[in-house]
């Protein structure tokens, strides 16, 4: 039997928690930027209690000298600014006997679950320290302690501090710096001085969240209109776009609701310019009627949906891969469209650009599926080089006479006119129609247009981006996964392979149209295991529905909101493989 590899990778995991206003998140933000400036990589996620403000919150950083996006198996260092409702985070901040827990010993004692974890505990007088420096805040002492613990050079912290809190003025910066330095002296011995063994890079890198990456990709793709109604965890995308898109000749429209947002996108796109919206499950539900209109009227439209726990209002602030069924099948009538999911934050820029381009070129709805984890994780990555997908709208030739908006063509893509052009006026319609766009309820025209709308999508050559396939020689097992589960699964599979397993990995990006033959080719003669973060195995059943995978394939499906970690995936995989024997 294969043993799980030690969950300890070459990483450094730091978490900080505290009640509202203690500034745990700020510590995380500065530390991540400082680590990046020092030449390393990292990922930061956050967790909040149910309170709007004034409640508890936590940040979890996982740092490394190579690109990293998964959560850590356990915290090397946890710094508790206080213990308010710490139980809430216990799933997300696992502590072991290898953990170091630093806390303010002028307040409550560590809760039982911390004491029982076997972690090394160091209590310090944070609250008293604050009194020693006028105007200082506790979290800056904490930042100093962490800086010292991991052996990070103060210059990086200083630069990161200026960048993060610069707007607050010089006084804040100098007071903070003083506190950080005082903090560094509070626990002089460093317990996790890993950084010195790592290889810093000199390469330029980006500090970016998934939602920002998504917005940037759309801007690269020529986005001119983002219409949206706020919803967690998608609002950041539009908030990223708002001050930037205008510089590129575009605009944001704040809609009264999601029904309006989606119709605005269709109207904007009918006007000839690339348009999108961003939402999450409840908003997506409200948009499906209009998305069907985009499909039927063949109006390009990009919808980014950032999944959260469901059903209904569900768990708005946490991640789950639970809307796959809906993004594929949430429409009435035959509604062929394109569904794409990036596998990690790193590729979000390019995949978003591709998604917008596909909407334009195929004149249809493209749904890009992200989730709270991908969208709200902040990562340090190598800058993403620009690409040119050359995906544009097909325009009627300048000399068109007898223009037919819904003409049946070889490629099944009909030319779409630019409003303002003389002699190509047409009426776009969601009623079934003839080639000219005239309403029709005749079977022949219905079937012609149904076929055209399906074919233009299946006939397109999607190239290599349809999936990320990592084949292992002599593989007997193929693992298939998607979206934010990909990174944890990848690491688990790599670890198992290092121990002699023969597992190939397929990270599926193009979910619709399903590339059945390509999947079948990769799956040939292998046992297939599908891994995803939802209760019912939505991807698993979807792959079966088109015979893309063998009948005896296995499903590893677990509801959110706790994210997969490489070790949990490994354990599940080993269990599954054992069961097959």
């Amino acid at each position: 039997m294969i043993q799980p590899v030690s969950a300890t990778q070459d990483n450094l995991a730091i978490s900080v928690s505290g009640s509202g206003g203690t500034g745990a998140v700020t510590v995380g933000l500065i530390l991540l930027e400082a680590i990046a400036k020092a030449g390393f990589y990292g990922v930061m996620t956050r967790s909040f209690g149910p309170q709007i403000r004034g409640g508890e919150s936590a940040v979890m950083l996982n740092l490394s000298d190579h690109p990293i996006e998964t959560l850590a198996e356990f915290s090397h260092i946890h710094l508790a600014l206080d213990w308010l409702k710490f139980e809430r985070f216990s799933d997300e901040i696992p502590l072991t006997q290898d953990s170091l827990v630093i806390y303010d010993n002028s307040r409550e004692k560590p809760p039982g679950l911390v004491e029982n974890s076997g972690a090394k505990l160091i209590g310090i007088g944070l609250q008293n320290a604050v009194k020693t420096i006028k105007g200082s805040r506790m979290n800056m002492f904490a930042l100093g302690i962490l800086t010292q613990q991991i052996g990070l050079d103060l210059t990086f912290i200083e630069a990161a501090l200026k960048r993060t809190l610069g707007k607050k003025g010089d006084d804040v910066i100098s007071t903070s710096l003083e506190a950080i330095q005082a903090g560094m002296r509070m626990i002089p011995d460093s317990h996790y001085e890993k950084l010195s063994h790592w290889h810093p890079t000199q390469k330029p890198r980006w500090n970016i969240s998934g939602n920002e990456a998504c917005g940037l990709g759309a801007l690269r793709g020529g986005l001119k209109l983002a219409a949206a109604y706020p919803i967690t965890p998608a609002t950041d995308i539009v908030e990223y776009l708002a001050p930037r898109i205008e510089k590129l000749g575009g605009r944001v429209l704040i809609a009264e609701d999601e029904l309006a947002a989606m119709n605005m996108v269709i109207g904007g796109s009918f006007g000839g310019l690339p348009s999108m919206t961003a939402t999450s499950g409840p908003g997506f539900s409200l948009m499906t009627e209009a998305m069907g209109l985009a499909i039927a009227s063949e109006t390009p439209a990009l919808v980014v949906t950032v999944m959260r726990g469901g059903p209904s209002t569900g768990i708005p602030t946490k991640s789950e891969q639970t809307d796959l069924n809906q993004v594929l099948y949430g429409f009435h009538g035959e509604a062929p469209h394109v569904v794409i999911a990036p596998l990690n934050v790193q590729e979000m820029v390019t995949i978003s650009q591709w998604s917008l381009g596909l909407a334009e070129a195929l004149q249809t709805l493209v749904v890009e599926v992200s989730d709270q984890h991908l969208g709200q994780s902040r990562v340090i990555i190598d800058p993403i080089p620009p690409v040119d997908f050359n995906l544009k709208r097909l325009r009627p030739p300048a000399t068109t006479s007898d223009y037919q908006r819904y003409e049946l063509t070889q490629e099944a893509v009909s030319p779409i006119a630019w409003p303002g052009t003389p002699d190509t006026q047409y009426t776009a319609d969601g009623l079934e129609h003839t080639e000219t766009g005239k309403p029709s309820s005749m079977a022949k025209e219905h079937q012609q247009q149904l076929t055209k709308r399906a074919q233009k999508i299946t006939q397109h050559n999607y190239g290599e981006h349809w999936a990320k396939v990592t084949e292992t020689l002599n593989a007997t097992v193929l693992v298939i996964t998607w979206g934010s589960s990909y990174e944890a699964v990848r690491i688990a599979v790599e670890a198992l392979n290092q121990q002699g397993a023969d597992i190939s990995l397929l990270g599926l990006r193009l979910l619709m149209p399903l590339q059945t033959e390509q999947i079948q080719a990769v799956a040939k003669d292998k046992t297939v295991i599908v891994i995803e973060q939802n209760a019912s195995g939505q991807l698993f059943h979807y792959l079966l529905s088109d015979n893309a995978i063998p009948r005896n394939s296995q499903s590893i499906a677990e509801a959110g909101p706790i994210l997969f970690k490489p070790s949990t995936v490994q354990t599940a995989l080993i269990h599954c493989l054992e069961g097959l024997k």
């Binding site: 009264e256 904007g268 209109l293 969601g430």
Partner: protein, 288 residues
């Protein structure tokens, strides 16, 4: 209710461009005698009067007998889904402020399912003209009550009437922030043409609430021809005053009730000269 103070309805003649040039070759599905025919005709006249190039017009609608309008005109049209025309048109106008954006639809489409977009389109006050073809019924689905149907009207769905008072679309438009509010009548095509030219010329969101009989499901509406008359007060630009004239109207006055010069929402539309450079700037923010 008396309809004493009849003011003769005004005349308008079109000289320069032929209204029929704006018609497409699709024949309306409307019932013979439907009020919507006259609105179509008035609209082509107004467009001709304004000499608007056909290709510069974006005409958006929802679903309903009335909403079939775009297909009958030789302009860029969008026959969308039920109730969402104003939202779709707002997206169009945002991206293409150079186009003349018109929206047409029925009382069901605009005031029932589309009510939220109605109030928010008024509030946004974009430069859009909204033509409501109000027959106080859902024609397309064969005769159910709409928000403007009188409480007593009996239908299959409401055998004893709706029991709910009709509401006041012009009053709502006013409170929501529309800057041009008028009532027209399909039986007065000239007056209507005039209202339409003024509404289209008005900068901001214009509502023309047009009474248009549904001869099939509300044959009694044919009597409107006798009761409609021109408004004998001139448009107010003061909301409190306009509220008064709207609230005290018996529903049979036609004319402009409110017209004001309010801030028009026009999202930025400065084309970017050097997108590559701007993008590079934007990406620079990400650098560690």
């Amino acid at each position: 209710m008396t309809h004493a103070s009849q003011t003769p309805l005004e005349k308008i003649t079109v000289k320069t461009v032929k209204p029929t040039e704006y018609l497409s070759n699709v024949h309306p599905v409307w019932c013979p005698g439907c009020g919507h025919f006259f609105i179509l005709r008035a609209l082509t006249k107004a467009l001709a009067w304004l000499k608007l190039p056909k290709e510069q017009i974006g005409l958006v609608s929802g679903i309903g007998c009335s909403s079939r309008l775009p297909a009958y005109l030789n302009v860029y049209g969008f026959h969308g889904v039920h109730g969402r025309a104003l939202a779709l048109a707002s997206g169009l106008k945002a991206n293409r402020p150079d186009l003349t954006v018109l929206v047409a639809g029925g009382d069901g489409d605009g005031y029932s399912i589309g009510g939220n977009h109605f109030i928010h389109a008024c509030r946004r006050n974009m430069d859009i003209t909204y033509i409501v073809m109000d027959n106080e019924v859902y024609g397309m689905t064969k005769g159910q009550p709409s928000p403007t149907t009188p409480a007593e009207w009996q239908s299959k769905l409401t055998p004893q009437g709706t029991g709910v008072a009709r509401f006041n679309p012009m009053g709502i438009a006013l409170a929501a922030g529309a800057s041009f509010i008028a009532r027209g009548f399909s039986g007065d095509p000239n007056g209507l043409t005039k209202l339409m030219t003024e509404a289209i010329q008005h900068k901001g969101f214009s509502l023309i609430e047009i009474k248009s009989p549904c001869v099939t499901f509300r044959p009694e509406e044919k009597a409107w021809q006798k009761s409609m008359r021109s408004l004998n007060v001139s448009p107010s630009s003061n909301p409190a005053e306009a509220a008064k004239s709207i609230y005290s109207s018996d529903g049979f006055d036609t004319g402009i009730f409110y017209q004001a010069d309010l801030p028009v929402y026009e999202p930025t539309n400065t084309p970017c000269e050097n997108p590559a450079d701007v993008l590079a700037e934007i990406e620079k923010e990400l650098n560690v």
